[in-house]
Amino acid sequence: MANLTLVQAINLALTQEMEKDDRVLLLGEDIGANGGVFRVTEGLHDRFGGDRVVDTPLAESGIIGTSIGLAMGGLRPVPEIQFEGFLGPAYDQLCTHAGRMRSRTRGGLTVPMTVRVPVGGGIHAPELHSDSPEAIYSHNPGIKVVMPASPYDAKGLLISAIRDPDPVIFFEPKRIYRAFREEVPEEEYTIPIGKARVAREGTEMTMVSWGASVVQCMNAIEESGRDIELVDLRTINPLDMDTVATSVRKTGRAIIVHEAPSNCGVGAELSARIMEQCFLHLEAPVQRVTGFDTLMPYYKLELEYLPNAERIGKAIVETAAY
């Protein structure tokens, strides 16, 4: 058991899965000698060699397209896309092929790959280094979407993702890459994909979030002094509605918090499903606290854009008072 950052927890999961299964190989930009721009793959090139930790050409569609081939060829590729803003060039390979291969071939060919991608804002990065595209890849069927909110979860979810027989996008909230440490067991363990976690129990209302926003939610809840239940989704596709609906049926009120724009975001889906499944229990409309329906601004204004404890607090007060 060690006290690890999220970066270290991921590094540990990668190391252990690579030790265990030589079908696992990593590929991406600057992941080799450089250890990745966030140092997530630090030391792995030395340890496993250039055949298993591969610096690729600077081409995201190429990274994902060849990973699809690697996966269909019986391996377990773990490609890294350097920032979520650079998933765009790989969109077509992800949604046209990775998410469709199993269904299109009626199980003949499958794509067990895990796409690692730093995600989200809050680190004063340049343009296109702070977005949150999880809704995009959730709307496209066939791809699982995972986002841990803590080092412990990161390790267990990543191991599950690598072993999953289907493609997984594993979003790593960069704002909490090193923001705090947590006890992470040395031994391997998995956290099931598709199951949410009740991060904090409560009775007054339900808050649903994922990734770095979970920290903001926790702060806001503590500041509010109220008895609020916090559900950390962990997996964004498929959604664990049982956990969410159980909570909302208990509390009668819900707030969803995420960084991405509101319009057609995951918050909309949660809100719609909560209404569908808990209509008669709802004492207030489900409230969304999200990024605006604008671009994530350059960093001078990024904290204005990101949901913070104050904005969440306002939603708490209003939802409680409704």
Partner: protein, 362 residues
């Protein structure tokens, strides 16, 4: 020297049996045993017949859109003949001849065009027909990489059209293969057209073959209607891949004798004279002449073959048409290895919202 030569190269064009029936004995020496040439010819006639019947199935409303392969049989067949079963065939949609040679069940291809995913479940090393143009070459590159990594001795061979070489993914696949030393054979079927767009809009360079120079890749142009030349260049490319992990780019010059697909009408944009010119270069006619010159084939055999083809293809059509219809369940069954609850609910209720449904979503 202030003006220096930084790079210099030439690209070869290979032909063995030309459109006038002239055969290069030296290059052709020992390339394909006569009995195999006969088998390849027979296979080609079957594929041509299959193609005609598929066309008719669409015309009579028994099948959806279908892209005729007519005239391009030699390119994929020559390649498939030169490759091994452990090699991956990553094709577009005009490679029936090569896929069937490899052992893909022709009824699967019909099923695909009949709008049935079961047509893509293929038990040999081949990927499903690629509908999104230009995307499959990356899969070939990854599959070849997997073979190299696992040391299973296989390589990847991928087919695509002249139009596909305009897509960014083509570039990325070539570049990955070249720079990461991957055993891939890239075969571009330059058939002069991408639907209605002539090749010069895709590539205004003198050859498409020179696309490979951008990657320092061995590149060659070949008469794609000459099965001997195809076998030779693909065999060499396969060896280069298998032994040296180096990719090759092959421009196979051929021609689409039909419309783009059954949804197309080439008379809107294509000069009929051009078509005539290429009809005379038909790979099948060329091969038959070669065989007849050598007394390996005659009109009687041709007749017998025609009858055999009809029997084979009507059997294929029958099996494709008689398959039990897919069920709505199939929409849900294959999305993930383990079907998530939301899909189970949608499957059971044929609805998306859980309105009126019990809390646990059933």
């Amino acid at each position: 020297m202030p003006v220096d030569c930084a790079f210099q190269t030439t690209i070869e064009r290979i032909s063995i049996l030309d459109e006038h029936g002239v055969y290069d004995e030296q290059l052709g020496e020992g390339l394909i045993p006569d009995s195999d040439v006969v088998a390849l010819y027979r296979h080609m006639t079957m594929c041509r017949h299959f193609d005609e019947i598929a066309f008719k199935l669409q015309r009579s409303g028994r099948m959806g859109t279908y892209p005729q392969n007519k005239g391009q049989e030699a390119a994929s067949l020559g390649a498939a003949y030169a490759l091994e079963d452990k090699d991956w065939l990553v094709t577009c949609y005009r490679e029936n001849a090569g896929l069937f040679w490899r052992g893909v069940d022709p009824e699967k291809i019909l099923l695909h065009w009949m709008g049935d995913e079961r047509g893509n479940h293929i038990p040999v090393r081949a990927t499903p027909l690629a509908i999104p143009i230009g995307t499959q070459m990356l899969h070939a590159t990854g599959l070849a990489w997997a073979s190299k990594y696992r040391g299973d001795g296989g390589i990847g061979c991928t087919f695509f059209g002249d139009g596909a070489t305009s897509e960014g993914d083509f570039h990325e696949a070539m570049n990955f293969a070249a720079n990461l030393d991957l055993p891939v054979v890239f075969v571009c079927q330059n058939n002069s057209w991408a639907i209605s767009v002539p090749t010069r809009i895709q590539c205004s360079a003198p050859t498409i073959a020179q696309r490979g120079l951008a990657y320092g890749m061995h590149s060659v142009q070949v008469d794609g209607n000459d099965i001997f030349a195809m076998v030779k260049v693909v065999r060499e490319a396969a060896e280069r891949a298998r032994c040296d992990n180096r990719p090759t780019f092959i421009e196979a010059v051929t021609y689409r004798l039909g419309d783009h697909t059954t949804a197309d009408d080439a008379s809107r944009y294509r000069d009929p004279e051009e078509l005539k010119l290429w009809e005379a270069r038909d790979p099948m006619i060329r091969l038959r002449n070669w065989l007849e010159q050598r007394d390996l084939w005659d009109e009687n055999q041709e007749q017998a073959q025609r009858i055999e083809n009809e029997a084979i293809v009507s059997g294929i059509v029958k099996r494709a048409e008689e398959i039990e219809p897919p069920t709505t369940n199939d929409i849900f069954n294959w999305m993930y290895a383990e079907t998530p609850k939301v899909l189970e609910t949608q499957r059971k209720t044929m609805r998306t919202s859980s309105l009126g449904q019990g809390f646990d979503g059933v």
